[in-house]
Point group: C2
Chain length 214, copies 2
Amino acid sequence: MSLVRVHNFAVSLDGFATGEGQSAEAPFGHAGGRLMDWFFHTRTFREMQGGSGGGSGADDALARAWGPGIGAEIMGRNKFGPQRGPWTDHEWNGWWGANPPFHTPVFVLTHHPRPSVTMEGGTTFHFVDATEQEALRLAREAAGGLDVRIGGGPTTVRRFLAADLVDHLHVVVVPIVLGRGERLWDGLEGLEERFRVESVTTPSGVTHMTFTRP
Amino acid sequence: MSLVRVHNFAVSLDGFATGEGQSAEAPFGHAGGRLMDWFFHTRTFREMQGGSGGGSGADDALARAWGPGIGAEIMGRNKFGPQRGPWTDHEWNGWWGANPPFHTPVFVLTHHPRPSVTMEGGTTFHFVDATEQEALRLAREAAGGLDVRIGGGPTTVRRFLAADLVDHLHVVVVPIVLGRGERLWDGLEGLEERFRVESVTTPSGVTHMTFTRP
């Protein structure tokens, strides 16, 4: 059965999954790299960057679960880039360079569809104006029986959780107070009742929480 | 040196330290006992209730640090009781019965002062209309060189944190999404920069976070 999964999704103590003021230079706004610092130190991340080294402990083991079994990703437009409204810069194809780390079809949710873009390494960005259910149907078709990852940002993950479409949620609570940005948990009262929840703190200081269907 | 300490202060994943709709029957409003469930299972809590049994593992060890070295407590009016505005029910003396677990002077912050009330077991409630700094001066005087505990609720803890008067903060993150109530973290952006932060998850599923001065 094809599952819907969220991985390596970091939130601050006050529940913000990204800061305020996103720009081409600052994908996470004023949060900078603080939400993903634990990840930058993992071997998984270093390998994604084409490098080597990095830790291979628990943070890495949990981070690595991101890839296997995934056949397609769905992401919100604000994860793809900082442009809002009609697309003016068609040269922008994400923060990830010519060879993005996805290596699958990626469905970008936007009210402003544009032609698909094929990148190096097997990643194709499709731009769709769709409900969560429609996007998931498209992604499942493209995934060929494999799982679908909801890649973020907070609004997108929150909408899929609210629609009860997520089977596996891996949230990383980072011990910082961001103060402003976009919240993950809004409108999700009682979310824990739908899942079995497990928590573990690692030496980097973050707490990994996994929500899986009971 | 007399420290200012917060202990056993539970928050939900979305940062609420109490629910909505406090009443005499529901000190935590719609949150019910969910924020303190980990605590109810500790030996520390059972002994506070005059009973015995309960766990004596990590939750208990952390819960137990609540008492030693404390000479006075400061609490907000909403921790003391559900009444708002001028006091109409003078028979209400807290949720804790004739012998409250504090056993020290307790300063209740209120814009409506009333005469002090001496309970069994060494607890005296003083009702003061004071700033954080003034209340702390009074509590320190009463504590005779011992530490002062800020007992809650969220508004009171947040105000003492905002005024940078807290030396030790023990927060317990409970893996539930409350959705509504009173938030702890609002207005505290960058709080972690003033502290050394340590996190540990226990088998009950909560994450204990201790913020101590570097």
